[in-house]
């Protein structure tokens, strides 16, 4: 059987969200939230590049509000979502929106460049329908991340043994790896592991963080 696009009754009845569009509003908020979780803290500046349908209709659909709300850590059903631009301003988060003319890989695509001090992160996300999303690029790494299942994102130094160490921790905890993507900027630089697992287990997060040569670990349950 080919992989199912929808596996849960709550993909169909749900999500609870602030209108008006599951792809332009709820999906956008989810992308923002994922970016915030990967970054791990509130950024100082955010440049948001909008493509195609996102570029044409972002104001009418509240895509801008939703992306920023997500970056502030809000869920798609947060009643404060409508005030997110104001809240961002009050919290000292500088936001710039840039609607782009050129074609993109997907009609609902956004690229976000965020900074805090010396830290920088670039993420590209797509909103694929019904509030479901895909992260397709992270700091120049091509990837495909849907976050429909429990997922670990590990950013680490590209040194020998990292995959073995992380997978050993998962194995010790009895967590089965469903899929695993490993990629890197260039030899010896920063690398990233995206591990989709079968069991919901957040407790190994701290153990992975405690390993040498780890920059950042995120978990999406």
């Amino acid at each position: 059987m080919e992989q199912l696009k929808y596996r849960s009754v709550f993909d169909i009845i749900g999500p609870i969200m602030v209108g008006p569009s599951s792809s332009h509003t709820a999906g956008a908020a989810r992308i923002g939230k994922v970016v915030r979780k990967i970054f791990g803290e509130q950024p100082d500046t955010v440049d948001i590049y909008l493509y195609e349908s996102f570029a044409k209709t972002y104001r009418g659909h509240g895509t801008d509000i939703a992306l920023v709300g997500g970056l502030l850590g809000m869920e798609p059903d947060d009643p404060q979502l409508a005030d997110s631009l104001k809240i961002a301003h009050e919290n000292g988060m500088e936001v710039l929106f840039v609607p782009k003319q050129e074609k993109a890989e997907h009609p609902n695509m956004v690229q976000m460049k965020i900074t805090k001090g010396d830290r920088k992160l670039t993420v590209t996300g797509k909103s694929i329908g019904g509030g479901n999303i895909q992260i397709s690029e992270l700091n120049g790494f091509k990837l495909s991340l849907s976050l429909g299942v429990p997922t670990f994102i590990v950013v680490h130094q590209d040194v020998p043994g990292m995959i073995a160490k992380v997978s050993q921790l998962l194995s010790n905890a009895g967590v089965n790896i469903g899929t695993m993507t490993v990629t890197r900027e260039s030899k010896g630089e920063k690398a990233i592991m995206i591990i989709e697992v079968d069991e919901r287990n957040e407790t190994i997060l701290e153990q992975i963080r405690a390993l040498d040569s780890i920059y950042n670990v995120s978990y999406f349950g």
Binding site: S8, V9, D11, S23, S53, T57, G129
Partner: protein, 290 residues
């Protein structure tokens, strides 16, 4: 898990109802407990109820394009002098309410999408009065709708950008008709027939939103989609069968969506979106925004 409507109907024979099959499948697929699943669905139902109440009381969208039609329909029903039935008109009023709330960036439950969020709650809030449904029966209505919706989503599409409005309001209306049949005491086979009857009438419906916004014609298509769910359900309960089996109808809808030019798939480049009035409204909205 069921991968076709035929499998759904067959597997449901091992359970008291399609709703129970859906709950058992959800437990198996998600690892959540029955209690957790019921709590999540109850939360969805409460949001649906609040969105209907809010819309019937009267709202206006961010752009001003839509809003205020639900109170009009409410007053018309209360006056008591109408052509069609009261339950259908209540569903229409409720569906308009939810989509008007959606258009003003209010809180809704996507069923299966935000653009088609009026149909299933609109129908449920109307038929629960007529059929005096218990809370559990109302939740079962949503599980039944979700079960048929899952098959359509996996074998065709629930995205207007992929398959046009037939994929959104068409799927929503089909889901509601299947759940109505079950709520009225029909069997799973009859629910499946209602899905086929509904989708056949929605087939080819394009997605042509004015200014690219989920307002015109979405609100009214939700209204009509909810009314149609009742007629399809009654036809199926009367024993009328679809000549083309439900799974073949779903496959046909998928193929129609694939063959549909991009003009008619949520790009606002065709249909109602390019009428002179729509163009004028689009310019006005864009001018207001910049």
């Amino acid at each position: 898990m069921f991968f076709s409507i035929e499998e759904l109907v067959q597997q449901s024979h091992e359970y008291p109802s399609v709703a129970e099959l859906m709950i058992a499948t959800e437990i198996e697929m998600s690892g959540r407990t029955r209690e957790q699943i019921i709590v999540l669905m109850e939360r969805n139902l409460q949001v649906m109820e609040r969105s209907v109440e809010e819309g019937v009381a009267g709202v206006t969208s961010v752009t001003g394009l839509t809003g205020g039609d639900s109170p009009k329909m409410n007053a018309y029903i209360e006056a008591g002098d109408f052509l069609s039935g009261e339950t259908i008109l209540m569903a229409v009023r409720n569906a308009i309410a939810v989509n008007e709330v959606n258009a003003k960036m209010g809180l809704i439950c996507a069923t299966p999408t935000a653009g088609s969020a009026g149909v299933v709650p609109g129908v449920l809030m109307a038929c629960r009065e007529k059929l005096t449904m218990s809370r559990q029966q109302q939740l079962d209505f949503l599980f039944t709708a979700g079960a048929f919706g899952l098959v359509m989503a996996n074998n065709a599409s629930i995205s207007g950008a992929e398959g046009g409005c037939q994929a959104e309001v068409g799927s929503a209306s089909a889901m509601a008709s299947a759940a109505l049949v079950a709520a009225k005491g029909g069997n799973a086979h009859q629910s499946a027939q209602a899905v086929a009857i509904t989708l056949k009438n929605m087939m080819g419906l394009i997605c042509d939103p004015v200014a690219g916004l989920v307002e015109v014609p979405c609100v009214k298509r939700n209204a009509l989609g909810s009314s149609q769910a009742f007629i399809s359900a009654d036809m199926a309960l009367a024993g009328i069968e679809s000549v083309i089996p439900p799974d073949e109808v779903v496959e046909a809808m998928y193929q129609v969506g694939r063959q549909m030019p991009a003009t008619f798939r949520e790009t606002a480049e065709g249909g109602l979106a390019v009428t002179p009035t729509a163009k004028r409204l689009t310019e006005k909205i864009l001018a207001k925004q910049s």
